[in-house]
Amino acid sequence: MSSDRIESTAAEWLAREDRGLSPQEALALAQWLEESTLHRVGYLRLKAVWQRADRLSALKAPPGRAGRFPRGILRPAVWMAVAASLLLTMAGGTWLLLRRPAQVFATSVGKTEAVRLADGSRMELNTDTKVRADVTAARRIVTLDSGEVYFDVVHDDTRPFTVYAGNRRITDLGTKFAVYRAGDDVRVTVHEGRVRVDMLGRPALDTPVVAEAGHMVVTKGGETLLLNKPAEDIARDLSWRQGLLVFNQQTLAEVADQFNRYNSRKIQVEGSARKIRIGGSFRADNIDVFVLLLNRGFGLTVKDQGETILVSR
């Protein structure tokens, strides 16, 4: 057996061990290890690495330092948890609710949805979004697969609220914030309080960025940009929560991209019309009125082709 083959078999055994071995499997493993010292050293080598990897737990989000509520006073989160557990107990055995494993929430194009989590935190899902929330008595972990979510987090010093998006991790430090993910590009908009944004790998690049209200963090690959935004820009970026798209002198091409996030019918802008600057506030789902205004206000030609609406000079 080549070292490669032995190594992959050893890895399979260790992965099974990591999951939990049945008595039969334990016996089979013992036999495999007895067969050859090559098996044993291959196994021990990977076992040592997997044990060393336990050190990665040092990267676990440390408790936040929000300190909005002085020590000694029960924080609202605790009251809420107490009230919730009382309610649940009264409901009879539904304690399981608090131990519920990951839940998946998703919206289709043009839809938004508000969700309250077991810890009292809220999530508002924007259009075309998929998110997994794992909120138990022991942890609060959310993974954003795609789209955009606005978080209103009930802060808990003992249980950090952690959002994974692409290769980034966003940790709540007592706050309201939105995370948008398109592939591996991530954008974090902080509405209130503070969040920490970091990467788990790349020791050289992983200086965490702490963003406060009015900040926007934009990442691409290993690069992280921290922007200071006027309050109106932040409000504009979060206007989707009211079902609105708000623009301030953005190009028609950018505006069309925004509308297209919310509608299955797509606006396609051609030629010099792409550079026209647009301002104003529009209902995200009211694409017909928007193109009508383009026609009346700018005299643009609008051709409705069913799935696509062509806009040109």
């Binding site: 260790l14 992965a15 737990s57 790998g201 790349r202």
Partner: protein, 195 residues
């Protein structure tokens, strides 16, 4: 069973005293062996010889013993291949063993250890990385990872096996080893799927 006790003691010794020398051993083999594809085999064979020797009698000094074993193994192989010449023997870097500063590597500071792990973690493919993060950073069980990601436990198990090998490779002291190893792993997977 006394035999099993002894075995456990040898296992512990091997993991704590021998395996931390791996980056050094790998570089030593690379310096002295032309065919890079055989380094993994040589390393494993060296480990097996060291382990078996230790089962009979624990060597007093680990590092010289490990390198002596690797050296003897390479000589054996060259003899078997019938290509050994004085020139190639002279090329060998045998005498440099003690020049390497092993103490710093054997006792890597906790901080540096974490950096090594982080770098290895970063080089993992995205999905594999997320699974290792949830398992090792967040401390979820394989089953919990599966539920969180909405994938089968078997998939998590496969990715854990893959992650383990890639981490081991990344930490064994070869530069750019992870990407190579990922390609090799995928190629191996494919060839096995075809069969």
């Amino acid at each position: 069973m006394p035999g099993r006790m002894a075995e456990k003691a040898v296992d512990d010794w091997f993991m704590q005293d021998v395996l931390p020398l791996e980056p050094m051993l790998t570089r030593f083999l690379q310096r002295n062996w032309r065919n890079a594809a055989e380094i993994g085999d040589l390393r494993q064979e060296t480990y097996a010889r060291v382990y078996e020797a230790a089962r009979r009698e624990r060597p007093l000094q680990v590092k010289p013993f490990l390198f002596q074993t690797a050296r003897n193994l390479m000589i054996d192989r060259l003899r078997r291949q019938n290509v050994v010449s004085l020139e190639s023997m002279a090329d060998f870097d045998w005498l440099n063993i003690s020049d390497d500063q092993p103490s710093s590597e054997a006792t890597v500071a906790a901080r540096q250890e974490l950096r090594v792990l982080q770098a290895a973690l970063d080089a993992l493919p995205a999905r594999c990385r997320q699974i290792v993060v949830l398992r090792k950073v967040e401390g979820l069980s394989q089953k919990e990872v599966a539920t969180h990601m909405g994938i089968a436990v078997d998939t998590v198990e496969n990715q854990v096996a893959k992650g383990m090998r890639l981490l081991a490779q990344a930490m064994s002291g070869r530069r750019g080893a992870v990407a190579t190893e990922a390609r090799r792993f995928n190629a191996l997977r494919k060839s096995r799927d075809v069969q």
